[in-house]
Amino acid sequence: MSLNQLTIHELRDKLRRGECSAREAMQATLDRIRAVDGKLHAFNHLDEADALKQADAIDKSGAAKNGKSLAGVPIAIKDVINVEGQPCRCSSKILEGYISTYDATVIKKLKAEGAIVFGRANMDEFAMGSSTENSAFGATKNPWDLTRIPGGSSGGSAAAVSADECIAALGSDTGGSIRQPAALCSNVGFKPTYGRVSRFGLVAFASSLDQIGSFTKDVEDAALMLRAISGHDAMDSSSVNRPVPDYTKALSKGMRGKRLGLPKEYFIEGMDKEVEATVRAAVDKLASLGAEIVEISLPHSEYAVAVYYIIATAEASANLARFDGMRYGLRVAGEDVIDTYGKTRGAGFGAEVKRRIILGTYALSSGYYDAYYLRAQKVRTLMKQDFDEAFKKCDAILTPTSPTAAFKFGEKTEDPLQMYLSDVFTIPCNLAGICGVSIPCGFTKQPKLPIGLQILGPTFGEEIVLQVAHAYEQATAWHEEKPKF
């Protein structure tokens, strides 16, 4: 096995024992990228010299032997998170030429643990999409089937982890943008509770929904990443002042005494039969490990997509106002300042971004605010109450992550609403602010495409989510499978 194929904990152990150097691990990673990224396009940008420089510094400092938890581990970064000195494009034309002037807090934290932070992973433009087809730089391919999408918006991060083009990756999740690509690419995608991880340095899409999280090859790695990136940050006033537990202690605790809820609204008529069968088999597996399965109800589930596409687009319309051609990025000169804004944004934003800005602006505009935005916020309260009630009856909730496995390029681009509906299982988690993970639980038969199991936990319930995920993973072998392409 070459070094790029290892997990964080495997590589960390090798580095600690002096069996390899950080440079060798980084070089193996870069070699892999050179070999396959022409086909996959997981990366928008790669600064090889800088990555190797970081690796050499780790080797020189002996950080791997000094107990730094991520020392020497190459971690790819979604192109929406600022890394000083690197481009930050959010897969958009409007940030042409933009070089980050600071490190996001999560980047500072990863570097403090000795990680090698490298690469700009492809994504849907400004994190708006479920397929990575909305990237201004071209789509990323699913390593399990190059004619299919990897999911989105963090498609590049997911594909890179599955294809061993990195040991782990960071992504962001506003309506499922970590969990859904993790399901479609067969890796572990973790979205922390809102406020658990600082958003300082994350280019904002929807400020009340966004969270940074990880893509890893197994659940132990997810615990390691979560421990490293979590914590209160004075620079993010939505980050919560709460101690960070050692998430690795949540592993290997089994399922005895745990109640797992199955929301009846998530197993509906017309669901993809293979996805349903595979997820139900995963539920049975967890039952066999000692968990009690209880039926629960999340009665307002059917309104999730409607609520999300009002709230998220409204917040996005405000957050994307800053891209105006004045202080950074593309500027297309017009007759006056208003005309310059209009031309710059018209030329710089892709179709999906424009669609969402228009929808969000409309939802907030005078005469419509009460009917749309305010009403959506009230329904959001009802959805949060659904989860509060459900978590009285169970410790964690199990659902399919995505209604289907990876679809083909172009299959859902004609009708935006069809694309939006594919987020139906992941969106409620962001609206309620709770935590969730997607883990591999099987494959479709022909072609062989990954299927993900979603595990949702209450706010700051990351430990229970990790416990359930780890118990299932260790009793199965899905996480050991790798794509051949």
Binding site: T101, R331, R345
Partner: protein, 97 residues
């Protein structure tokens, strides 16, 4: 008071958003957004009397820091990304006559 039955005035909303759209884009968007708003209409089915809105899923308020001046960073670094800059300033089209 929703007016989703009326033609969605894309041009007006685009102006609010400072977004220049071609005729083609306007037409296409009008159709797509009408369909999306049709889906959103189902929110009207729900009784939300006395339901408080959630702006923030993990409620916090008045997160303040001490009112102490501190350095805000290196302006030269920030100006490097400017489309047009001179003498430590972002140069942009005139806003006020």
């Amino acid at each position: 008071m929703a007016k989703s039955q009326e033609q969605f005035d894309v041009k007006y909303v685009a102006h609010l958003a400072r977004l220049e759209l071609s005729e083609d884009e306007q037409k296409k968007l009008a159709g797509q957004l009408a369909r999306i708003l049709e889906h959103v209409e189902q929110l009207k089915k729900l009784d939300v009397t006395d339901v408080p809105p959630t702006a923030h899923a993990v409620p916090m308020s008045n997160v303040l820091r001490k009112d102490e001046a501190r350095p805000s960073g290196d302006n030269a670094k920030y100006l490097k990304n400017a489309p047009k800059e001179a003498r430590g300033l972002f140069i942009m089209p005139k806003i006020v006559e």
